[in-house]
Amino acid sequence: MAKVPASPEASTAAALPEKTEIDLKDPFLAAFLAWLVPGAGHWYQGRRHKAVLFFVWILGTFVFGLYLGEGRVVYASLRENDRRLPYLCQIGVGLPAMPALVQAARKTPLQFPFCKDFMAPPQVSQLPNDEDELDRLQKRLHRYWEFGTVYTMIAGLLNILAIYDAWGGPAFALAAPPEKRDEKDDEDDDENGKGGGG
């Protein structure tokens, strides 16, 4: 089991319960779960409040982006005339972006009752001046296409931060002031001296 020490800043703020050691359990499994479903890795580690926070905010951002883009802004495509690079960021949310891979692998996309062609790659024409489905989608959705793409991309990128947090514990922002650190070092030296370890 991997454990990370308490926050250095926690020593300056006794009121905050950050002094407890964080049990990361199996960090690699936690990181994988965190990628699969935002917050799942933290739930596995027993860090429930952070699990709920990541689930709500990351998935909320992703779903709102999908909503703005009518479920079409997340799709996987490596076609010559349509390389969907934003999907590399969107896949950061894991399972919720996976239907795009299934839709991309199919010849005829699956149809869902709540959204036609959900996460299916739009048809693109090989002819340069031909208006294809992607053109029509972008025209119809206008700026919501961009909003939806940005929201879903940011959700994926935020989940990468959450995955790192599940793997390595929180990266604390502030270090303890030098005098506090010196006191702590002295305490540690005293404890080592008592133990006779030297």
């Binding site: 905050l16 905010w57 990351i58 909503y67 703005l68 909003f147 959700a155 959450a162 929180p170």
Partner: protein, 72 residues
Amino acid sequence: MFGNLAWPLLAAGHINDLWYALPLIVAVSMVYSATRHEAMEAILAGALRIGAWITGFMLVVFAILFAISSIL
């Protein structure tokens, strides 16, 4: 979900595009702060600080761009 239901909400108010930044600022602040703290109080305090910083930064950029566009 996404088809017909989306448009009443979006078309209703003709929301200024800048408002779409607000949920993103909140989400980014909360998640970023949560990756740097463990206690909920510290997360919320950090999120407030980061959110204020991002908003301030955006306002400064807005002011600079506005000034440039006024001059040109």
